[in-house]
Symmetry: C2
Subunit: 452 residues, 2 copies
């Protein structure tokens, strides 16, 4: 019998709702706090910078399922469903009895999962009469996705890109410009926040924290302009659940159910996107589960793979902190390294962020998941093995998920267990070849965590 | 009713044979001629530089259908079927009544259709005990595909990349190195052919012609090493017919049949790959067609889109010529601009070739297809409109097919005809962002044809 490698859903099987895990968490995430008043923020407060519907979704702890607008589902059809792939060649190279599957979000035309949230965010802006959107971007995956989504819905788009990433990956700025976006390196002299940072530290390489400050400042000082975010926030993870909802149906097509689910971790949206739809079956207490059909399912081990040099899940503190460097955002309850933490210049730009989203932080605190930290060189070694076996050059961010997967698969080799491991290939690395070149030439180094 | 946008084949529907148009052409292609003896060459002669099975396929004018080896079909499953997509957003932007479809070969993990032939070529080498493969590459799409395919089948791989393309697209060399290949810029000092060219013209930017000479020299002077080619030859087009065979089934799923089929044209393999399976229904004479079921089908207009600055189909001569600059290859009967033609430095590196494959040349001579030539700036204007509507940034080569499609679609707007146009999106342009950046900045120019 021939081995089936890829599983795809027909268009009529595509999910019509996103899954809102907040509604079913045993302990709800704590609310965002206004930095001046120190009061919990309302959706109305949040809609000063975000689209109204995104602000509403952000605080929705009631509705477990939220309809995907038809216009967004139409745009999802440009690239969804993404394939679920059985990684036979990787398994063989590792000599593992584990069954390795990956959800291939790299086939998105912008190269990553980011488009899943860029489309609805721009759609809601358009619906609400907004004409301009702005954002931050690290490696550029989010900025590229937003630039295209803005063009698709007829919005103007301005992107602040982390300066070091802009230098490491110049093609991504060109991609954004091809879609008509204005791109500025952060920290820049175009905002007060940027000027303050440069004054304090003229050689600041930029970080997601600095770029967020600048984008928020632009949004609040420009008429009819909203800020959008590519990760961290609850509504972003919500949109990303399309990944896990598809994967759940596709695993059923494959006739298997995961023992382990792995994704790389920056702010938490690609992790949550894959994990939450599966996690919903194990949110109930042991007693409640025993009474329900969930009892028959395996309990999944959820693993978030973060860089060793930016380890908020494994070494951060759970506390209220700002989402950005300048302190413009609401205070969020999260695992954090401190909003003034300056991440090392690793190539996985999308993972250079000091904090974890509030949902994920609560889930980690409550023991529903765990973090592992991966050194940079281990991540690229894993990425190259993956490329040479499975043919796709992974994004440096995704390399962290692959490295964690390989660790688990090699444990199975020790124990002989035939575990089913599912990981998210969040994006491809074709724009990140400078990093691979550097690794191949032996120039890539590991960074120690340099925080408190 | 919802509009279906993408059509995909389930794995069990994937083609199990390639289509060999040679067997059904009314006038067979003339044979390759040995440059010294001036005698027609046999498969045995050709197998000095090519894998034996490729040499056999090259001259096979008997079998219309050739089995795809199971091991190759397994590897095709890594990315096939590729989607057939209805370009609703592009249609809307053009205001055309035409129905535009494209076959999206850009979803291949290496970014283009080239893998379709790299896999069988490396597979046959492996089967025949070959340990090393070598090749030329222009933009790097073929070199990247071959590097991965070689790794997949455990072969060593050496690539000569056109020097100007190497400078324009440095990431592609890194991609090849990530898959373990050795990459050298051509013309180089590592071969006699390269030295001769550099001696005559120290600033020669390289061309596919110079790189082919160097690769063939390496193959013939290295033990157990075979040369592989990414286009031009009959067996390459044969492997690429997987594109059109899938597309035919997918057009049936869409409930339509094309009036016009368009592909960009370098050596002819992506054009032939899409076109030949459809063309097989109209190879018979009018009289024979009238008697058969083919009579009920529309007669398709086949269009090959070439760059204005390298116009072998529209301005070349049909004659025996060498496939490379140094004159190492067999003499091939083809439309050619002369093997010493030095193509202008356009960004569509894959189209910078002086000649057309022998099958296509015969078909053009016999009136089964036509060529159109596209200026560089028109191609990028088309590419950007396509990106902004359909979300995929196309390869500079593919931009030529898009520009030709837009011309046809705008004719339909004039006449009101609801023609069905199908084109091949042969690859994405994510590694070609320098070209887009240059176009956006207004630095890109058109080149006149500077030949005889």
């Amino acid at each position: 019998m021939e081995k089936i490698k890829r599983f795809l859903l027909p268009e009529e099987e595509l999910p019509r709702q996103w899954y809102n895990i907040q509604a079913e968490m045993p302990n709800k995430p704590l609310p965002p706090i206004h930095p001046q008043t120190r009061q919990p923020m309302t959706a109305e407060d949040l809609s000063v910078i975000f689209a109204k519907e995104c602000a509403r979704q952000e605080l929705d702890q009631t509705h477990a399922w939220i309809d995907i607008p038809e216009e967004v589902r139409e745009r999802y059809k440009y690239y969804r469903s993404t394939p679920l792939v059985r990684a036979y060649a990787l398994e063989e190279a590792l000599g593992t009895p584990a069954h390795i599957y990956f959800k291939n979000e790299s086939v998105s035309p912008l190269g990553s999962h980011k488009l899943n949230s860029a489309l609805p965010q721009c759609y809601y802006c358009k619906q609400e009469g907004v004409t301009n959107v702005t954002t931050e971007t690290g490696a550029g995956q989010w900025g590229a996705a937003l630039s295209y989504a803005a063009k698709a819905y007829g919005l103007e788009c301005a992107v602040y890109q982390v300066k070091i990433s802009m230098q490491q990956k110049p093609y991504r700025s060109s991609i954004m410009r091809t879609f008509g976006a204005a791109v500025t390196g952060s920290p820049s002299m175009s905002t007060r926040a940027g000027k303050d940072i440069i004054t304090r530290d003229p050689n600041h390489p930029g970080s997601l924290g600095t770029a967020i400050s600048e984008a928020i400042e632009l949004a609040t000082t420009t008429p009819n302009c909203k800020y959008t975010l590519g990760s961290v926030l609850n509504h972003v993870s919500l949109h990303q659940t399309i990944i896990g909802l598809e994967a759940e149906k596709q695993m059923e097509m494959a006739g298997e159910y995961p023992d382990t689910i792995i994704a790389c971790f920056g702010g938490g949206s690609n992790f949550g996107g894959l994990a939450f739809p599966f996690m919903r079956h194990q949110l109930k207490s042991q007693e409640l589960r025993a009474e329900s059909q969930e009892a028959s399912r395996k309990v999944i081990d959820f693993i978030a793979a973060e860089p060793s040099s930016c380890p908020k899940l494994t070494k951060g503190k759970f506390e209220y902190d700002f989402g950005d460097a300048a302190g413009y955002t609401p205070l969020l309850p999260m695992y954090t390294l401190g909003h003034d933490f300056k991440p090392a210049n690793i190539h996985a730009g999308g993972l250079r962020y000091h904090g974890a989203g509030t949902i994920v932080s609560q889930l980690l605190k409550d023991g529903f998941m765990r973090g592992v930290d991966i050194p940079q060189t281990e991540s690229f070694r894993a990425g190259i093995l993956f490329a040479q076996t499975e043919s796709i050059i992974p994004a440096p961010e995704s390399c962290h998920a692959i490295a964690a997967t390989i660790r688990e698969a090699l444990k199975c080799k020790e124990t002989g267990e035939e575990k089913v491991i599912l990981f998210n290939l969040s994006g491809h690395g074709l724009i990140d070849m400078t990093a691979y070149e550097s690794f191949i030439n032996g120039d890539l180094v590991d960074f120690e965590y340099n925080g408190k």
